[in-house]
Subunit: 135 residues, 2 copies
Amino acid sequence: MPADFAKLLREKGIQPSAQRLAVAEYVLFTKEHPSADQVWAKVRAVCPVLSRATVYNTLNLFVKKKLLRELVLSEGKVVFDPKMEAHHHFIDEHTGRIEDVPWNAISVSRVSGLKGYDVREYMVVMRGRTRRKSC
Amino acid sequence: MPADFAKLLREKGIQPSAQRLAVAEYVLFTKEHPSADQVWAKVRAVCPVLSRATVYNTLNLFVKKKLLRELVLSEGKVVFDPKMEAHHHFIDEHTGRIEDVPWNAISVSRVSGLKGYDVREYMVVMRGRTRRKSC
DNA sequence: TCGTAGTTTAGACATAGTCTAAGTTTGTCG
DNA sequence: CGACAAACTTAGACTATGTCTAAACTACGA
Ligand SMILES: [Mn+2]
Ligand SMILES: [Mn+2]
Ligand SMILES: [Zn+2]
Ligand SMILES: [Zn+2]
């Protein structure tokens, strides 16, 4: 987690305003896969002067500048994910919780050989239960 | 495509009203992956006495009775898919069109060995361009 | 200091989906 | 058949998520 978020934003051509810094500090390193309104709630606790419009503007800007990606894995749930490397996702059917699954944990073959399709990216989306850790 | 949709619905414990039959005839055999409002538009052309609420009610009922599945693959696009067997999906980034990819066209391994997760179902979601058919 | 471009804001607007309460249809049974 | 209840359909109100607008504020160089 970088000491200097302002530098990180400037490197991507984003002017580091107070609001953008506050959003960045939370969303660029979370593992929570939060929705826009969850981001708003979390960041407002730290920086109360922050409008809903700015949160949406900032998240969309970060997506455009490739600091975040937007995922839609379940009905009505758009979430943001700062992990930009290719990876897969597991969704707990019971809680809705989304977890990252490392790219190497699963092997997928014959994607590039698919006739008729020029696949640019892909992801395995899994649903099930999170197994209780053995105690 | 069965001759007798009423029978098909009754077998699933669904009372075959005129509206449900009209929705069934379109949605249970389409390859279009339509949204609820696209279903409404299509079916209203055939059966003009059909409210938006009934279309949503019917689609949700069909999902509950396992005649349809609901997919959310892109932001703000919930679509319905009558193909109930396991299969994968390809999304054309340019047109948004969703196409089915047969289960056997791709091989995925090590899913069931994933530590900590009890995977009930999974799907590969691919994005890219549909390659122009060679002429 | 001034001008300008960029940023933030509240609230209006759009859209998708659910809910409600009233009306209609269907099926059952005397 | 006729009455009744259950199931179904409907319009429109309501909610949630996201976008847009126009005005205010800020940063910054000339
Ligand atoms: Mn978005
Ligand atoms: Mn739904
Ligand atoms: Zn992720
Ligand atoms: Zn499909």
